[in-house]
């Protein structure tokens, strides 16, 4: 009965709406970007304002290898999505594993860098403003990498045990958007901390 009331005699054009996963992730990325902007602003504002050492110039080294690893993981996760869309699940698992591995190398690199800074150079979050802003900004990014790696590892497990099929490609795509964002943030962090700030 209600249909008779509502549906018009005019032919209704096909009703297509954007994916709520993509829209939701875009919103989350906006919010996360705002958090990172504040930490980046604080970092830039405090460059050279530390009243004691060590300074970035003394202790920071360019993390070239780990940066290459993290940035290339954007390509591997994209390939994983593409292969899942085409139902090539083995290839999808392979690329997902590659992504997790590259992300893990990046984290290991950060861990080694921090270990070196803390125990060889004596730089902690309490030492000076550089320590405060460095550990909080890089640490905030690293915590996002950890969250991304956990989710990618889950996806890898689902892919290996066969419960993730091409029907889930859209969901993996949403996850890959997050991972691309984490990589993009690293480009900014790299430029600010290791290029501008050094």
């Amino acid at each position: 009965m209600s249909e008779a009331v509502f549906i018009s005699d005019v032919p209704v054009e096909p009703w297509v709406l954007p994916s709520r996963g993509v829209v939701g992730m875009a919103c989350l990325i906006c919010a996360e970007a705002a958090i990172f902007i504040i930490f980046v602003v604080a970092y830039i504002y405090y460059i050279g304002k530390s009243i004691s050492g060590p300074t970035p110039h003394d202790v920071l080294e360019l993390p070239v290898l780990t940066t290459i690893c993290l940035l290339s993981s954007s390509f591997t996760v994209h390939l994983a999505v593409v292969n899942l869309e085409r139902s090539k699940r083995a290839l999808c698992s392979l690329w997902l594993a590659g992504t997790v591995l590259l992300g893990a190398i990046f984290l290991a690199g950060t861990a080694m860098e921090w270990n070196d800074l803390i125990y060889r150079h004596g730089l902690t979050i309490r030492t000076n403003l550089f320590g405060t802003t460095f550990y909080s900004l890089v640490g905030l990014h690293a915590s996002h990498v950890v969250i991304g790696l956990l989710m990618l590892s889950l996806a890898l497990i689902f892919s290996l045990n066969g419960s993730m099929t091409h029907m889930h490609a859209a969901k993996l795509n949403v996850l890959s958007l997050y991972w691309h964002f984490v990589d993009a943030v690293w480009v900014v962090v790299f430029l600010v901390v290791y290029v501008l700030g050094r």
């Binding site: 009331v5 009703w15 994916s19 939701g24 989350l28 530390s50 403003l129 550990y135 905030l140």
Partner: protein, 563 residues
């Protein structure tokens, strides 16, 4: 107006009459629900609870300030009162009540069965609710500065370096930080959810250009919340690192900057006012046309003005910081940016007036509150423009004039529109009508009380009475004004109690509302009151901005005039 058109009746054949459940089952149902209507109601109920608590805090402060040299509360307690009052009203009354209405109304208005992410919705509610509980747990758990009582006492904007460990020992400030952080997480979750719902869950025919204005304004307010709540979250993380890990973000001894906190806080703090006021505009956009019996005037201009307000509000924050000494360039920029925001706001006021113009106005209680809102929001905007002029701000900043100005916005505009929304949508939410007679008493008492309190609060501000003082000397000439201000609080309290009584009474004894008591035009009135769990038996297809008008007037549908 309470008659029902037969077309609507057809849509309502499935009015649910549920059998009674044992209370434990009912409780379990509410705690585990992911239904947008139940979550919306929980948001509203939780906000009302905190409204009462924070209102009592305001009352205590007004008692203390009514006469000079009063010793009703100690200075320490007074500091805690204004901190808790401000924090509670912004984070645990304003945000949840507006998100509650949004949660309840948006899926109904766009013809959807639920929000885009129902479980995220439940998570956001519970994490915010937990934040509020944590804030008030500080009364028990925080070992505050003064030993005995121990709620946060750093003011709602918690300026550094007062919040550092040295000046605020104990845990009361940590409770404040964590509570605000959790509320922020919940707000971001709900804002994200509202945007995804409004964009991705629309029923067939609901193009963006046909979206009810309420939904449009919620998109803008949620987008704004996404961008501005996160900086506050970031600042809270920094503050926690300072307090717990010994970092130096706001530690001036180690070269840190207290002004940086001010910037970060107000980057959140000013747009937050618009996050709160845009939903009030949203209610006005739905209620004023229905009771003027006219379609809203200037729909595209309303949308454009709302988006404009959203953008401009991001560039005005430092007008809270004119007294810091930002320099002539920054002062000029922020003065001008603040004045520019009056343009889109003015467009809205003129559009509402044009909607009223020539309409057949029905002065229901909802409409009376909406008209009160129009008038008071105009005055609040005008004092806002006064304060945006930086030289005048140097004179008035930190005085009761500022307190009067922003309470004019928060109470005179936002709270009035929230009351209006209650009178308008309570029948939909409960299935019962609120009493118009008690409502009129509520309106007039609250109106008189509001004007007594907040009109006269401007005066001691101009006379130099600083905000946050716990008392004052008798020879300052402020007493008479403070007596008037405090006496207004009595009227507001009685009005609010009548409102609460009205809601409780109507729930049991109010006349049955039916699906469409106001003869309205948006989709939420097409389903039964209260709506069934699934909202609509058949997902509707719409052809204009006023689908129920089309339904009730098939001979002259709106869709003939819209493109």
């Amino acid at each position: 107006m309470a008659t029902q058109t037969p077309e609507i009746e057809i849509l309502n054949q499935s009015t649910p009459t549920e059998p009674r459940h044992p209370w434990l089952e009912v409780l379990h149902g509410w705690v585990t629900t992911v239904d947008h209507k139940k979550i919306g109601l929980m948001y509203i109920g939780y906000a009302l609870l905190f409204l009462v608590i924070a209102g009592v805090e305001a009352l205590l402060m007004r008692v203390q300030l009514a006469i000079p040299n009063n010793t009703f509360v100690s200075p320490q307690v007074f500091n805690r009162l204004f901190t808790m009052h401000g924090t509670t009203m912004v984070f645990f009354v304003g945000m949840p009540i507006l998100f509650g209405f949004g949660n309840y109304l948006i899926p109904l208005m766009i013809g959807a069965r639920d929000m885009a992410f129902p479980r995220l919705n439940a998570f956001s509610f519970w994490i915010s609710a937990f934040g509020g509980l944590l804030l008030y747990f500080s009364f028990l758990g925080g070992d505050g500065l003064y030993g005995a009582g121990n709620a946060p006492d750093v003011g709602w904007f918690a300026y550094a370096p007062l919040t550092s460990r040295v000046f605020s020992p104990g845990h009361s400030t940590d409770y404040w930080t964590l509570a605000v952080l959790l509320s922020g997480v919940g707000s971001v979750g709900t804002a994200l959810n509202i945007i995804a719902t409004a964009i991705c869950m629309r029923c067939p025919g609901m193009k963006m250009s046909r979206l009810p204005l309420l939904v449009w304004l919620y998109i803008v307010t949620s987008g704004l919340a996404l961008i501005i709540v996160s900086p506050l979250t970031a600042a809270q993380i920094m503050l926690m690192l300072d307090r717990y890990a010994g970092a130096h973000f706001f530690d001036t001894q180690a070269g840190g900057s207290a002004v940086l906190w001010m910037h970060f806080f107000w980057i959140f703090g000013h747009p937050e006012v618009y996050v709160l006021v845009l939903p009030a505009f949203a209610f006005a956009n739905e209620i004023i046309p229905v009771f003027s019996r006219k379609a809203i005037f200037g729909y595209p201009a309303m949308v454009a003005a709302s988006v404009g307000i959203g953008f401009i509000s991001l560039s005005v924050w430092a007008h809270h910081m004119f007294t810091v000494g930002l320099g002539a360039g920054a002062n000029t920029f922020f003065t001008l940016a603040t004045m520019v925001i009056a343009v889109p706001t003015g467009i809205k006021i003129f559009n509402w007036l044009a909607t009223l113009w020539g309409g057949r106005i029905h002065f229901t209680v909802a409409m009376m509150f909406a008209v009160g809102f129009l008038f008071q929001f105009l005055i609040a905007g005008l004092t806002g423009i006064m304060l945006s002029v930086s030289p005048l701000d140097w004179q008035l900043s930190g005085s009761y004039f500022v307190v009067a100005h922003f309470h004019y916005v928060l109470v005179g505009a936002i709270l009035f529109m929230i009351f209006s929304a209650f009178y308008y949508w309570y029948p939909k939410m409960s299935g019962r009508m609120l009493s118009e007679k008690i409502g009129k008493w509520h309106f007039w008492l609250f109106l008189i009380g509001f004007h007594l309190t907040f009109d006269f609060m401007h005066v001691p501000g101009i006379l130099g009475m600083p905000r946050r003082v716990y008392t004052y000397e008798a020879d300052r000439g402020w007493m008479i004004w403070n007596v008037i201000v405090s006496s207004g609080a009595i009227f507001q309290t009685i009005g609010t109690l009548l409102f609460v009584y009205n809601m409780i009474r109507a729930y049991f004894k109010g006349p049955i509302a039916g699906a469409d008591p106001w003869d309205a035009w948006t989709l939420e009135w097409a389903t039964s009151s209260p709506p069934p769990d699934y909202n609509f038996e058949t997902i509707p297809t719409i052809r204009s901005r006023r689908p129920l008008w089309d339904l009730k007037h098939p001979e002259d549908p709106d869709s003939n005039y819209e493109f």
